[in-house]
């Protein structure tokens, strides 16, 4: 019989257990952020503008950390989901409108995930009509048939597969020094395409659903206030990892597609294919594999998160530890998001999918300001957060950050709605004259 040895050893083991028990939500949420849409945006940024947008990753990471940290804190302190808190604070009508908008946004995103899956699989040699239904079934079954712990483990493994990007970037033999210099040294190009891209980068990084998902995941994990510091690190590490992956994608595409003057790409699979001639087959496959992994990963979390917070907000039973009969609304929502998302990709040609994605981006632009403002108001409530309210300094940072995100998201939504380039050049014009 092995007895537990010294108290110090027990202490160490105990700390490790605690760490493993807390880690997860932050890293998973941040990684899902690099979904099919994200990979496409980063690929485009690299292919079209080389290293010149790399510097934006630093402020984006900071903004992401500021926002996500607050949500995680609310989850740990109150033990309630964000939708729950909004419902209790702002009433049913506000909650309902928010949820309806979120449903639209997330449906559009789910469609984008399945489209990403299809285009990644194409590079790997699997047809769309096989890949999409199979992928949809796998993500559906994982959540409906699996337990929370299993699901979380699978998700964490999916996070590890993002390693495909650094490797494929390495194979592209980029000029590392130049890439690092351009990351630290900001440089702005004053043309409309550059600005549209910049807005796209921000829009794809900070999404409303992430806030709901992270808070619910933190609550479901039952993390204690005392261990919050660890949870905070979970969030910070997650955000940094995410943007590291973004960095590698941009660099890979910059070192190959941009350098060779190929410029624009329309889907992420195209980026993967375009890597081939310059960085070799392996890089191309790894890139496509990363895309497939990211799409599947996000296609399971997005509908799940959506089902979670809609049910939470409207007071229906939710949670993957419950059966279908216990939480029918939850499972119906989850299933129909996946099925309809997959069907849209199979039935509609990419051009016809475009309005769906456009609509969801506009809804996103309307929604995000509300979510961020509600968050800031909730986290400053003494009766809710006690001593864990924002400090004055942090509040200032948070409001400024959220203000900038809101302004840029709104701008991005407007440029999406109106003929993009014209709007941005109009705005640039206006700036120059005023």
């Amino acid at each position: 019989m092995k007895l537990l040895k010294s108290p110090r050893l027990r202490r160490l083991r105990f700390n490790l257990i605690i760490f493993m028990a807390v880690i997860g939500p932050g890293i998973i949420t941040a990684n899902v952020d690099n979904d099919a849409g994200g990979i496409l945006t980063y690929s485009q940024a690299g292919a079209q503008f080389g290293f010149s947008l790399l510097w934006t990753l630093v402020p984006i990471t900071v903004a992401l950390i500021v926002v996500q940290e607050m949500v995680a804190r609310m989850g740990v302190v109150t033990g309630k989901g964000l939708a729950d808190l909004i419902r209790e604070e702002f009433g049913l009508r506000v909650t309902f409108v928010l949820m309806a908008l979120l449903l639209v946004v997330d449906f559009g995103n789910t469609v984008a995930e399945f489209a990403g899956l299809a285009s990644g699989m194409k590079v790997l040699g699997v047809e769309r009509d096989l890949a999409v239904p199979a992928g949809a079934f796998v993500v559906w079954a994982l959540v409906v048939r699996g337990t929370y712990r299993l699901v979380e483990k699978v998700f964490l493994i999916a996070c590890v597969f993002y390693i495909a990007y650094p490797i494929s970037c390495y194979l592209a033999h980029p000029d590392w020094t130049a890439a690092l210099v351009r990351t630290i040294k900001p440089s702005v190009q004053f043309n409309s395409e550059y600005f549209v891209m910049l807005l796209g980068l921000i829009g794809t990084t900070i999404a409303p659903w992430m806030q709901f998902y992270l808070q619910s995941a933190v609550v479901e994990k039952g993390i204690k206030v005392k261990n919050y510091v660890l949870s905070k690190w979970d969030v910070i590490i997650g955000c940094i990892l995410t943007d590291l992956v973004a960095f590698f994608i941009i660099v890979a595409c910059a070192a190959t597609i941009y350098v060779n003057g190929h410029g624009k790409i329309r889907d992420a699979g195209e980026a993967a294919a375009a890597l081939g001639p310059f960085a070799g087959r392996a890089a191309s496959w790894l890139f496509a594999f990363g895309l497939v992994n990211a799409s599947l990963f996000s296609a399971s979390i997005l509908p799940l998160a959506t089902a979670y917070y809609v049910c939470e907000g409207l007071g229906f039973e939710s949670g993957i530890n419950k059966g279908f009969s216990e939480a029918p609304a939850f499972y119906s929502l989850y299933t129909s998001l996946i099925v309809l998302g997959a069907l849209t990709v199979i039935w509609l040609s990419p051009e016809k999918q475009f309005p769906v994605i456009l609509l969801s981006q506009v809804a996103n632009g309307i929604l995000l300001p509300f979510v961020l403002i509600f968050m800031l108001r909730l986290i400053n409530r003494k009766d809710l957060m006690g001593e864990h309210c924002n400090t004055k300094t942090f509040n200032a940072i948070a409001w400024v950050t959220c203000g900038i995100i809101i302004a840029l998201t709104a701008l991005s939504a407007v440029t999406n709605l109106l003929p993009g380039r014209a709007t941005v050049s109009g705005i640039l014009h206006w700036l120059r004259w005023s």
Binding site: M1, K2, L3, L4, P7, R10, R11, F14, I17, A21, V77, T78, G79, K80, D84, R87, E88, G91, L92, R93, F96, T147, R149, K221, G222, I223, K224, V225, K226, L314, G315, E317
Partner: protein
């Protein structure tokens, strides 16, 4: 019947027929009558809040509220923690549906409206948690009230009668004032209670655990996931935690203490009764994921020469949970396990029968360091209910029971 949503923002007129303001909330004074609406809060056009007592109200309809008194006699509202506010404390909040053992969110509140002594009085009937309530909330003020009544009636209305509603107030002092108790929760099955606790927010969980008696709290706590177990135990005062852990079977108590922070765990142990603490300490020495880590020290044993009546005597004197006992174990003078007798055999036999005649002699047993996977295999292979754990000299140390094994199989341990 009338709904809170319908009355919300209804205009209130004074005796002269002038507009006093609009209804903003309703108040129940639990110390006088737990069901009757005792006052109506009115927001005036100047944004002041007035409190109209129920005696001052003459008639209530979904169109308007008519008072029988002049404006001057309506008092301004003085906030009072001891009163239950329908909008603030009930609407949109989580409540426990004691009857269906669930946590639900309130969409609307139903009132019984009836004339008494020439005045209209409202009494709380039920809370509304169905889709009909959501529809009413969404369209109130947009669609005419009578139309909305008809429209909402097409959706399923799930209501919970007020007597089965358990409000959850985290503040203990206010809980007393509002006369909220969790007594009815104590009567639920511990597994249901655990499900309810899991659904609640942090403060609410703490409130429920703290107000339950130790035994019920211990049972409920055994059923919640281990992260939540430790979170809850660490959030309540150490003495209370010790009282609760004391009520748990020693093996579960040891499991929980192992997961608490070492300092907290030591404090809790120090606060526990001597006997319970020493049982738990013994178990704390065993590694997790082994037979030793799984076993409990609650078992019934007699000398190998005893008769049936001796076994029954031992059962009567047993202080642990009798429900968990399936076998009486026989030991020799040096405490070595020599046999086991099934409970049913003891019942069926004559009181003078020597137990050795009823016993199975070659008892399957394992040593404490045996891996839990192997333990599961043995349970499966031999269809066991319990498995004795013995030391290297075959002296009986404890028992692994089928429910412990089930936890392992389901991956909860």
């Amino acid at each position: 019947m009338i709904y809170f949503t319908e009355l919300d923002h209804t205009p209130v007129f004074d005796a002269k027929g002038e507009l006093l303001g609009h209804l903003s909330d309703m108040v129940v004074d639990a110390s006088r009558d737990p069901l009757q609406v005792s006052a109506y809060l009115i927001k005036t056009p100047q944004n002041d809040v007035l409190s109209l007592t129920h005696e001052q109200v003459q008639a209530i309809s979904i169109q308007q509220i008519q008072t029988g008194v002049p404006t001057e006699s309506v008092r301004p509202y003085a906030p009072d923690e001891g009163l239950l506010h329908v909008r603030k404390d009930v609407l949109d909040q989580q409540i426990i549906d004691v009857n269906n053992r669930k946590v639900v969110r309130v969409n609307d509140v139903d009132f019984d409206i009836r004339p008494t002594n020439g005045r209209t009085a409202l009494r709380i009937l039920a809370v509304n948690v169905g889709v009909a309530g959501i529809v009413r909330r969404l369209f109130q003020g947009v669609v005419a009230k009578r139309m909305l009544r008809f429209f909402a009636s097409m959706f399923p209305a799930r209501t919970i009668p007020w007597e089965f509603v358990n409000l959850i107030e985290p503040d203990p002092a206010r809980r007393v004032k509002l006369r909220i108790s969790f007594d009815r929760l104590a009567r639920l099955h511990p597994a249901d209670l655990a499900d309810i606790i899991e659904e609640l927010g942090r403060d609410e969980q703490k409130a429920v655990i703290e107000s339950l008696d130790h035994e019920t709290a211990a049972h409920a706590l055994s059923e919640v996931p281990s992260e939540l177990q430790t979170a809850l135990l660490e959030s309540i005062p150490t003495e209370k935690a010790a009282d609760i852990v004391e009520e748990m079977p020693a093996d579960e108590a040891a499991d929980i203490l192992q997961k608490l922070e070492p300092e907290t765990s030591a404090e809790v142990l120090a606060d526990m009764g001597k006997e319970e603490a020493s049982d738990v300490r013994e178990l704390l020495g065993f590694e997790e994921r082994t037979a030793g880590g799984l076993m409990s020290t609650e078992f019934v044993f007699v000398g190998e020469k005893a008769q049936v009546e001796g076994a029954i005597e031992a059962l009567r004197n047993f202080e642990g949970q009798l429900e968990a006992i399936h076998f009486v174990y026989l030991i020799d003078d040096s405490a070595v396990l020599t046999g086991s007798v099934a409970l049913a055999r003891i019942l069926a036999a004559d009181s003078k029968t020597p137990l050795s005649e009823l016993a199975i002699k070659s008892v399957i047993a394992v040593e404490p360091h045996t891996d839990q996977a192997e333990v599961v295999e043995l349970f499966h292979k031999y269809n066991l209910l319990t498995l004795p754990v013995v030391d290297d000299k075959r002296r009986l140390l404890g028992l692994v029971t089928a429910d412990d094994v089930l936890e392992v199989v389901l991956g909860r341990k």
